[in-house]
Symmetry: D2
Subunit: 278 residues, 4 copies
Amino acid sequence: MIYCPDCPGILAQVTNFITVNKGNIIYLDQYVDHVDNIFFMRIEWALEEFLIPRGKIQDYFGTLIAKRYDMKFRLYFSDVKPRMAIFVSKMSHCLYDMLARYNAGEWDVEIPLIISNHPDLQEVAHRFGIPFHLFEITKENKVAQEEAEMELLSRESVSFIVLARYMQIISEEMIAAYPNHIINIHHSFLPAFVGAKPYHAAYERGVKIIGATSHYVTRDLDAGPIIEQDVARITHKDTVQDLIAKGKDLEKIVLSRAVKKHIDRKILVFKNKTVIFS
Amino acid sequence: MIYCPDCPGILAQVTNFITVNKGNIIYLDQYVDHVDNIFFMRIEWALEEFLIPRGKIQDYFGTLIAKRYDMKFRLYFSDVKPRMAIFVSKMSHCLYDMLARYNAGEWDVEIPLIISNHPDLQEVAHRFGIPFHLFEITKENKVAQEEAEMELLSRESVSFIVLARYMQIISEEMIAAYPNHIINIHHSFLPAFVGAKPYHAAYERGVKIIGATSHYVTRDLDAGPIIEQDVARITHKDTVQDLIAKGKDLEKIVLSRAVKKHIDRKILVFKNKTVIFS
Amino acid sequence: MIYCPDCPGILAQVTNFITVNKGNIIYLDQYVDHVDNIFFMRIEWALEEFLIPRGKIQDYFGTLIAKRYDMKFRLYFSDVKPRMAIFVSKMSHCLYDMLARYNAGEWDVEIPLIISNHPDLQEVAHRFGIPFHLFEITKENKVAQEEAEMELLSRESVSFIVLARYMQIISEEMIAAYPNHIINIHHSFLPAFVGAKPYHAAYERGVKIIGATSHYVTRDLDAGPIIEQDVARITHKDTVQDLIAKGKDLEKIVLSRAVKKHIDRKILVFKNKTVIFS
Amino acid sequence: MIYCPDCPGILAQVTNFITVNKGNIIYLDQYVDHVDNIFFMRIEWALEEFLIPRGKIQDYFGTLIAKRYDMKFRLYFSDVKPRMAIFVSKMSHCLYDMLARYNAGEWDVEIPLIISNHPDLQEVAHRFGIPFHLFEITKENKVAQEEAEMELLSRESVSFIVLARYMQIISEEMIAAYPNHIINIHHSFLPAFVGAKPYHAAYERGVKIIGATSHYVTRDLDAGPIIEQDVARITHKDTVQDLIAKGKDLEKIVLSRAVKKHIDRKILVFKNKTVIFS
């Protein structure tokens, strides 16, 4: 994935670089933000006959192309799976949805561990044979516990984190350690109903539509780059309990869609917004 | 339409009252709000063989039923059409959508006049043969102009007002004169993006879904009872101009659905929320 | 749940019957089909102070009310949970979704067993501690195997069956034994793409929307009463594999919504269509 | 717009051709169909400093690029507006929706004429100042009338036709004269409910979702390449009349979206399916 100031010829240069070195392009999606004048591109090519050795692509591309265009880029190899940690508290619907997909082979990812601040979902983790780590959190121990969590994450080479209705605010240190690599699900169509108890707030306001939003976690609560949103229709007959029940289906689907996009390296963050490649 | 504190037997009493007096019930929808313990009902019956004369139903029902149950009710006759005024400024999409429906006979309503603070849409009004009244509004003349508008509305026996992207804040006096009888369309999924320029705000925030909301106008800006909402999916490729274009389709459909519900007397307002009967 | 030919006074009679006998009505939804002139109603009341003993309600209501109005009705007690069997083959997504809900206590149901014609999902059943019964089916043994299945279902007092992507056609005998009590999920928006491989057919036809449909199984393939449908947008970029992946999310949500409605006894079938009470 | 068998280097070649000749690329969307191995691309560039004169681009590009890659392409100039004819019968909703957009300047198109087989909508055409041509059609005069229509269309340099609920089957001759240039709106989610009276069929089948489909007209009835579809939720309470009313909103929005895509030259037809560029 690439982005840089837009100027004539970038696209031709990049595709030429790959084609000339006998890489067969199998995917390309690009987009120009004409407001900020930025060129964004995601490109995949086959390495079988590629003339540049795998270990040197980063260097060659960086020197020969990226420098000239003041380009930021990230290089991924499709045979290297990302490693994902799931953080949960007491609600199981998002966790089950992700583990079912993982188990069925829908996702190209490793899930080496689940972390929780409550013991409730240990049973679910065990059913799926995934190590469950309990870090109970109080005001007093929060700093120490998060440090222990981060050590564990680092030891397990976790590349990104999914907060599956994890009911604790993540500290700035952890956010800084995983910039745009912590995915949260918020149970409203942000920016409406930021903060706690959004279904109660939605009921109170009398909206006719509820929603869920998955986003990367940043230092501003519920204000990070939005990855995916969806909504469901409700009526005056729905109680708060009905909203919570309907919302669960939204939450798990919206979160899983976002996680899938992240696993597939289809998301690029620029200026607190996401570019989602096709 | 009826609402009152819920207690056993209300439904049986009301339906009995009609049946015993030889009214044939052709529609009934009821709902109990178990949080506030309120009973809501909308009931229609045929008057052909009804024993109580048309002019006395209000009195009889009020005395014999409503009083006993501390009931609020409104009685409408389906052969009396509501009279609707449309307020516009410069954008035509909502106005066209409503006039096309009116012209095609989709709505059981009279539209005796269109009011605007700009001359731009006079031409559209003329095409459909509806009187167009221009009330240009400045800081200085606002009070006087609104008084003139209200006199005109009263003279034309207007029963409710539709703000079809009318870009002026309605004064408290006018709101008080038409309580829950002024329908506005706001171009966001409220309560997100209250106020001016919601599409710009939506673009800035990077949402993946935009919306439109029709609501009754109250003294709190964009905070009145919501009648109808809908949303459309957008992507990072959509510019503010794209949002505005996609939003127009939402706005006109959402506004027209709300107006239709109001014309059909399917909306009851309770505690700043709407009950929308089926 | 009640239905009968519509005539004046039914609603008053039924609600009176309950109120007079000191039953407190806690839910009522009714609807009149003016084409066939049929009155439909679902009503719930509390039994605490009800004067008619639980065991005699069926008899009393049948004699005093139902007979007079040529009424069909079904009486359920909310403390008696339905018992549900799940039939699966090889795909796990619908099974996981249902078991996760069951486990989280979302559904008021018992699931005493899972039946399959393939061993693949035995592991999943075991994880959730639900007995898994394998009935491998060939042309030769089909009749005998279904008989054994039905004996098992009967022994376990199963009240309804859910086909969670079960890839075998159910025989007429079994359908007759569970009329409008076998729920299937079909992976298209019926009546489009009846039969096998609907995603391939959808891809071939170039539709822009795919869907899923849950319905009761009748003797006509994919033609039973529809309970719930939903759709998802696709583009020309989606391959058949993409449709299958997107479709899975639709299938599980649509099936679970239908099952929930059935468990809550909110569905009434009339003339191969469903009335879904609120 | 381009399509050709996919092979390495095409993208680089085409973008190079434009960049080298000092064309500034302002839009590019491409897509590879890996099933049929076809490369599709839509590209826009600014002509201000382009070295090849406007009149020779077709020739140069054809000779230097297209021939080498066995490429089909179409060249459009954004300052040449397409000319669109609207065919109507008696229903006004789609016509109004399109004329309102045309009038508000939403579409970059010319509408030189409206053709109808009934006089009913003459009044609407006059309101918008667009010539209305009545061609009443009987079994006897159909061939002659269509010939007259085609002469008129040709005289007016019409480039494409929109059937806005036009209730006549178009003859093969006319279809052949405007291949993939006649847009129809069908009032169902095709391929469900092909043919006449789809809302009646939808009611009869008891579906929970209705739809509308816009497609190019081909010789097979309702089987041409689908451009756009959308759906709306219904319930058992909706009568056929309700479906028709709800369907109208779908029809007009779906048709207008398709027409907009066509006007913007974003649609490419391949093997009876559409590629819709972003």
